[in-house]
Point group: C2
Chain length 334, copies 2
DNA sequence: CTGAAAGCGCTTACAG
DNA sequence: CTGAAAGCGCTTACAG
């Protein structure tokens, strides 16, 4: 591989001159002939900069790592897009990984932990990550920005407004006339599950009796399980707020299997929007969260952190969560 | 940040000794007391190796980059898993990116192109990538392993057996008694669309008349468009092979909207398996491709390439594509 | 068994 | 306007 030294030799100049041409630094008004010779040599030798050397010398890698708990969750599509766009604006490269890969001792983790390759980590672990690994991560000098609701400011974090999302989903059902509204999915987290908090808030505001939440987890199975539990209970609700789109889709499938007509007999709203909501029948009504804005904000804030500039962390309330009315909600049958 | 030099000072030894302890190299039988002192200093200072420096010195990064054309395509879940597992076995870190990010001049591309940070690239571009960028990539010394069907050996590539997948999907429909089978989705590529080739082969073998393919692309919309074209045509088929799961799901939705009962009036098989096939109603019958094995193979072969060892490229025929019978196929109504 | 030294490829003050 | 030199943090022959 050709190096700057090689170019210097071929062009008959010093390495510093080559670096100047390459980086457009200082020697800006260098002799035209010199510059031309250098550029010719660069082209001739097919020079490629060595990023490792540059990172070492500059003491920054120009890269942020994004790690999420489940790479193929459709919900991240927009998040990645926002992160990428904001990063590109700042000349930062983005590199993505899965929480699953972050077992202690894994090469991926070692790479993230190692100095010099990654300037900051944007992490959404969804509670799935080893506390030990998390601790190790936190003890490092490279900043870790959490992208999920935290309620305390122990770590820097940014999040969409999950409480408002829960409230919007529940409110939409209440406005349609439902009074028997259940909440299904997610976990009983610490701090309290924010979407469930939103559900509670909407129910109380409408003077309706909240039902005990069914924290059945994430994924399609969580929706099916939730519906089964509801059917086994004393009185079926007429409407369900589901913590997550994929769970809502799972619930829709389970309802079809059980011969429950959605939306005629049962209304369903899923929190978070994704393409699959448009694909199933009936189409799923969802609450859309500003994931792209979240990505942009995460990069902004991590950059601010890196630069020592003042940060603006916490919940992103603009744009607010928005109900996307599709086909899974109708007024209750009577 | 503490460096090896700092540790050496604190422990009262030379930097080489620190390196020896850290890497477990040569000085293997060093004085127990020395080693203990060094280890204490490492712990005390919270030493973290600088990966950029190491990569520079060793002239290898210990990382492979995986770039796919659409990060959130559910089909990649298994591919990533296979890649990750095989990479971990070899002590390699994996870093993921989206083809979309590889625009000329983007920091991500620069990072991939630059020497020293990435030892090899595993790429699935699905024909979506700029020919120019592709050319640049190919001109670099770091090997690029393609993970998609190529038919020629211009670049190193590995692929699942797409021809066999097309044949299996079509064969399944023929065995169910269908004679009017259409092919929808994908592109009219160069080399010829291998799944369509498989369709053709199965039809001919059964002495059935193939229909002209409807190359409507990828994604859910491609399925809906394909169905619309079929309905506008002279005679509806009784069964459809869809090039891709997501397209098949889109086709299912469009069929429901049009009042066409699947599978009673129309049978559908999607190529490639994904969770969503299990979630929709009717459940979608698919052909499962060994994506995990593909990932493992890609890493194996890229390692062989790097090591200068003999490679075994091309189609992975074991395990063969497998029909996953769910609810979208029935014998034709008469 | 341990240390001094060179060098990976780059950037950046500093001198001329 | 251009060059010589130091140094980022590590690894690895080589000498003792």
């Amino acid at each position: 591989m050709a190096t700057q030294k090689d170019i210097a030799r071929v062009a008959g100049v010093s390495p510093s001159t080559v670096a100047a041409v390459l980086n457009g630094t200082k020697h800006t008004r260098m002799g035209e002939a010199t510059r031309a010779r250098v550029e010719a040599a660069i082209a001739e030798l097919g020079y490629i900069p060595n990023t490792a050397a540059r990172a070492l010398r500059r003491q920054q890698a120009g890269t942020i790592a994004v790690v999420v708990e489940n790479l193929e969750n459709p919900v991240y599509q927009e998040l990645f897009r926002g992160i990428y766009e904001a990063a590109e604006e700042r000349g930062l490269a983005v590199v993505v990984g899965d929480t699953m890969w972050m077992r202690s001792g894994s090469p991926f983790l070692a790479r993230l932990l190692g100095q010099g390759l990654v300037d900051a980590i944007v992490l959404r672990h969804g509670g799935l990550m080893d506390e030990e690994v998390l601790g190790v991560l936190r003890s490092r000098p490279t900043p870790v920005m959490l992208v999920e609701y935290q309620s305390d400011d122990h770590d820097p974090w940014v999040s969409v407004d999950d409480v408002a999302a829960g409230r919007a989903a529940t409110g939409h059902l209440i406005e349609a006339g439902h009074t028997e509204v259940a909440f299904v999915g997610g976990f009983d987290t610490q701090p309290a599950n924010p979407r469930h908090q939103g559900y509670l808030s909407a129910m109380q505001q409408a003077h309706l009796e909240p039902r005990p939440p069914l924290f059945t987890g994430f994924g399609a199975q969580a929706g099916a399980t939730g519906l089964a539990m509801l059917r086994a209970g004393e009185s079926m609700p007429t409407a369900i707020v589901v913590n997550n789109v994929m769970s809502a889709v799972g619930l829709l499938g389970a309802a079809a299997d059980a011969g429950i007509a959605v939306p005629e007999q049962l209304s369903v709203v899923g929190i978070h929007d994704a393409e699959v909501a448009e694909l199933v029948r009936p189409r799923l009504t969802t609450v859309r969260l500003p994931m792209r804005a979240l990505g942009v904000r995460a990069v902004e804030q991590v950059s601010a952190l890196l630069a020592g500039a003042p940060t603006q962390l916490g919940v992103i309330s603009d744009p607010p969560p928005q109900v996307v009315a599709r086909g899974s909600v109708l007024p209750p049958a009577r």
